[in-house]
């Protein structure tokens, strides 16, 4: 479903991605871990065509995202909860997306309902939202086209414990329906609980790409800190 093959990207002298290769199969959740500046966001942005890799390729169903006829129906992405216009209402934000996707206005209400935003909250301007509400709006945005894959950059950021539990249930049910989920996160416990596989990156390189079977949160933490020791850098 999602394949990143020998992806390399430099920003000046900084190597953001260094021969990154991994995949996400349908029906699985892949946890994408790494310290700040490890290249996670660059990787996700490469996947949806916002960043152009110097070499290698990122494909969905064997095709580059930008060549898909209706890419947002195939991949739903939440890359930053701060990328929605603060002067628009949540509902209007989704309405713009639904027009782009050729979806009826009723789909907007369904998406708001799915992420737990009320109609009244939907009528509020995004600038008045808490971070958790913006994350929910971002998830509604990603889910709008009922995509076969989800690419989420720290979606639990700002969610309260109830919200995190809700998110876990949402992603699990999506995966059970065949959705491929690539989940970037700093929450090792969340990833160990949710993910089927884990990909760890640091300094743009993939350090581990493993299935999670019986690994506990503590084991994952130990491995994470062992692998990424000294690799933290400003994002």
């Amino acid at each position: 479903m999602i394949n990143l093959t020998h992806l390399t990207k430099r920003f000046g002298a900084t190597v953001a991605l260094d021969d990154v290769t991994f995949s996400v199969a349908p029906g699985t959740i892949v946890g994408f871990l790494g310290p700040n500046g490890a290249g996670k966001s660059t990787c996700l942005r490469s996947l949806v065509g916002l960043v152009r890799p110097d070499s290698g390729e990122a494909t969905v169903n064997g095709m580059a995202y930008a060549t898909l006829a209706d890419p947002a129906h195939v991949v739903g992405a939440l890359l930053s909860a701060d990328s929605f216009h603060p002067g628009r209402t949540g509902r209007e934000t989704l309405r713009l997306a639904s027009i782009t996707l050729g979806l009826p206005a009723s789909r907007v209400d369904d998406a708001l309902d799915e992420v737990g935003l009320t109609a009244a909250e939907g009528r509020r301007r995004v600038g008045t939202y808490s971070l958790g509400m913006r994350q929910r709006l971002g998830l509604a945005h990603a889910l709008l086209g009922d995509p076969a894959a989800l690419v989420l950059d720290e979606p639990a950021n700002g969610l309260d414990p109830q919200g995190q539990r809700w998110l876990a249930g949402l992603l699990r049910s999506r995966a059970e329906r065949g959705c491929a989920v690539l989940l970037s996160s700093h929450d090792l416990h969340e990833v160990s609980r949710l993910a089927d596989r884990v990909v760890m990156v640091a300094r743009g390189r993939v350090l581990a790409d493993e299935p999670i079977t019986a690994a506990s949160s503590a084991e994952l933490e130990e491995q994470y800190f062992t692998l990424t020791s000294g690799a933290d850098r400003a994002a």
Partner: protein, 267 residues
């Protein structure tokens, strides 16, 4: 889990939803949707409706001022020309905000994730701001017509419903030129304040510089933001070549730079 260098799993099985490659048919539909979305962006924040209301008020005020203090020969064409000027300026501001807002509010990444064809986004915005210019000009002319009806009740002077087609067309064309200039400079600079300030101040600067000498006036005609007056024999300083040069300076050059930046840059 064991530590190892990245393993490369086999390619995934068949996807849930089959991907389709873009075709001309889907591209046409997608462009229509993109124009609909961009048009909606003009009015779905507080700023848009406020600016549109200001344009309506100013158009009425400009036309009304001309109607209240008519000179010999003042007709509907003069009122309409006056009404179009503020409508064009505010349309330019809206055009700038439509482009610059994608970067200042960081919405470009959302817009281009939904539809990653960046050239289509540029085309959709051009079509949208041109449509905005046409609508604004039309509404300004309607406002002038309303003033034509109301003003005689106050002044007791009935103005003629005549107009010079060429003059009115040039005023409307200058409005579209200004809107496209705003679009192009906003795309090049990814900033709202600089293009708006510069385009609003430039006519005054050009007039002051042009008043120094005939040579200065001729030079300023080549960089006017309302160069279509050069198509009117009675108003021309240097002739139609000024339109080409001004279009290069205000629209083509910044538009090309901005488009290339958008097509090439990472977001």
């Amino acid at each position: 889990m064991t530590v190892h260098t990245a393993s490369v799993p086999a390619p995934a099985a068949a996807p849930v939803r089959a991907a389709r490659v873009a075709s001309n048919e889907t591209s046409g539909r997608a462009l229509a949707r993109a124009v609909a979305v961009e048009t909606r962006k003009l009015v779905n924040t507080r700023t848009g409706p406020v600016l549109i209301a200001a344009a309506a008020l100013l158009s009425g005020a400009f036309a009304g001022g001309r109607a209240l203090f008519p000179t010999t020969g003042t007709d509907f064409g003069h009122l309409a020309s006056m009404a179009v000027v503020p409508a064009s300026m505010i349309s330019m501001v809206l055009a700038v905000l439509l482009v610059a807002g994608e970067f200042s509010a960081r919405t470009a990444s959302v817009t281009l994730t939904l539809d990653p064809r960046r050239g289509r986004l540029v085309l959709a915005k051009i079509l949208t701001v041109l449509g905005l210019s046409v609508v604004a000009t039309t509404l300004a002319v309607v406002a002038a017509a309303l003033v034509m009806v109301v003003a005689p009740l106050i002044t007791g002077v009935t103005l003629a419903w005549t107009f010079d087609v060429a003059s009115l067309a040039v005023v409307a064309g200058n409005g579209a030129f200004l809107v496209l200039a705003g679009f192009a400079w906003a795309l090049a600079l990814r900033n709202a304040a600089a293009p708006i300030a510069f385009l609003l101040v430039w006519p005054t600067v050009a007039m002051l510089v042009g008043s120094i000498s005939d040579t200065a006036a001729r030079a300023m005609a080549f960089v006017a933001v309302d160069p279509l007056y050069e198509l009117l024999p009675d108003a021309a300083v240097v002739g139609p070549l000024a339109v080409v040069v001004a279009a290069m300076v205000w629209i083509v050059a910044p538009g090309t730079v901005g488009t290339l930046r958008l097509l090439r840059d990472d977001l």
